[in-house]
Amino acid sequence: MSASESDESGLFRSLISPGLIDQLFSFCDDHAWTLLVIGTVIGALPPILGLNQGYYMTVISEMFLFAILALSWDIIGGQTGYPSFGNMAFFGIGAYTTAILTKDFSIILPIAMMAAAGVAVGSAVLIGAAVLRLRGHYFAIATLGVLLATQQVSRILDITGGASGKILLQTPSGTVFYYFFFTVLVAEAALVYYLSNTRFGFVLNAIRDDEKKATAMGFNTTYYKTAAWVLSAFFTGLAGGGYSLFNTFINPQTAYNAAWNVELIAMALIGGSGTVTGPIIGAFGLHVVIEYVETAFVGWQLVLLGLVVIGTVIGFPDGITGTLKEYASEMKYYERGGMAATDSNDSAEVASDE
């Protein structure tokens, strides 16, 4: 990736200098935990302040849900560089687990939730053993295959209600779900942020950037990849566990939704993959837009999704956070000596990016 510099950004540059953005990032880095606490407080307030159950609370709860899913995807896709097109498989597994346990076996919700996360993690370990040894597009397609296979299985089995799925009648109130998704999101964001500054996070990024080099440096990449994959599955499965009850209905189509999987990826990309805030921002933003389109132009929301995906990939692959970071670090490089730090002749030997 080369630093973006063009004449068109001149206006933007004069309004908001790279230095300013850089300061913004430094500020956020230094006070990350404080910001997280503030965000938690802000997010927890609306129901207390009078937001009633109903359309808006549902939309916001869904925003949290998608943020969880996008962030979870990003752990394996953005941080580790293994783009999974089948993360929703764990979503569906979690969703069906809670649905079956609460409806057919009358198990109380908290236990069913833990079971959902557990089953998701267990299947992640099994599936991961098979697919994590693949690279690049083989991995992506394999995960897509896994998603469709699990979808197919739930269509066939009786316990999952076959193609018609399951209807759940006794579910907690909307406020409960609001806080449930919100809490999981906060917990996940905190965890991902913490890990991104430890060696564990560094190694994941190294695997993304150059897995062979990471192996040559002594890291057992299988171990790290599996950990990331399982972590991603855990949160996805947990979110799914909540979803089936939230939605009071689950069927193969909604539980194992390939279009949603693409939606999550788009959210992570637009916001800025590989960061903590990126997927969250992307999820909030894109979900709101899609909701709006769904109400205003019924049926067109997925067309929009397709177009958004195309547009993002072609024009905007670093996403918001990524592009801003690149912009901010431009100045830093030149300020700190940059090319002048070595012989000028080296510029003739700049290796081309892969």
Binding site: T198, D210, M217, G218, G274, Y333, R336, M339, D343, V350
Partner: protein
């Protein structure tokens, strides 16, 4: 006991005449024993014996296709040798997986200079220092002060101070090469394998590079084994040189000895 007595003796012997024929001089850091690697009908590495002793800078030269990189790959575990044994600090590492060998103390620099482009130089260095100990406690802790200090120290060492927070991909090729070099030093390897370190470096930088390598060898006590095509470079930096041709070891000795070796000349001129 016995090992210690050998150690004392070997230190004495090392300071006087070289005795490359006496294999019990000092414990070699790396030893290969008739290592062989075949690809289908082609024998890329043919019963090669080499030895690298502690504190040495050893060069590996030979015409293109001689099997040098393949030998490296066998040593690091990227490829598995078909025959023969490889010993690191007297431990048989022949069938070990790549990451395990790296953890055991071999560092490797690549021909095409591989570093982690998207991360800052600092992050690259910190990553290199923590060489894959699977200790959970270490895994989840943030990098400590002394490591950060050491990374600064090494950056200064190669005159790259101030570039710690720059994204590694933005550095020039020469700077990236030096970054890869100090990343290896962060890891404090017992043995550092360098694959064509002089490749793509302009002549004035080469002098600096030789200095850095020598300094690392002395100050950091890094044992170095390098592949190189640039003859001037390798003759100046290496203590001892091995020559490979057609997968076989055809010569071994000091730079002077190699330069006057007819068989080596023949190999390079295609008469072998």
């Amino acid at each position: 006991m016995i090992a210690q007595r050998w150690q004392v003796m070997s230190d004495v012997i090392k300071n006087s005449a070289r005795s490359s024929l006496n294999q019990q001089d000092s414990e070699p850091v790396l030893r290969t024993d008739d290592v062989t690697k075949r690809f289908g009908g082609l024998t890329a590495v043919d019963a090669v014996n080499i030895e690298v002793r502690e504190g040495e800078i050893v060069g590996l030269i030979g015409p293109n296709g001689a099997g040098k990189s393949t030998l490296f790959n066998c040593i690091t575990g990227t490829l598995s040798a078909d025959d023969g044994r490889i010993y690191l600090q007297n431990q048989d590492v022949t069938s070990w997986p790549e990451y395990k060998i790296a953890r055991a103390g071999i560092g490797r620099m690549f021909q095409e200079t591989r570093i982690f482009d998207a991360m800052s130089v600092r992050k690259n260095l910190l990553l290199a220092a923590q060489k894959g100990d699977a200790d959970i406690g270490q895994l989840l802790r943030r990098p400590n002060e002394s490591l950060i200090a050491r990374s600064d120290e090494l950056l200064e060492y190669v005159d790259l101070g101030g570039l710690a927070e720059t994204r590694a991909g933005q550095l020039s090729f020469g700077q990236q090469k030096l970054t890869e070099f100090i990343m290896e030093l962060m890891a404090e390897p017992d043995l550092l394998l360098m694959d064509e370190p002089a490749g793509g470096i302009n002549p004035s930088m080469l002098e600096n590079l030789i200095e850095y390598i020598r300094a690392a060898n002395e100050d950091e006590e890094a044992t170095i084994f390098l592949i190189e095509h640039n003859m001037d470079f390798v003759m100046e930096v290496a203590d001892r040189i091995y020559v490979l041709a057609h997968g076989e070891r055809i010569a071994e000795g000091t730079p002077d000895e190699i330069q006057n070796n007819q068989r080596v000349l023949d190999a390079y001129l295609g008469r072998e």
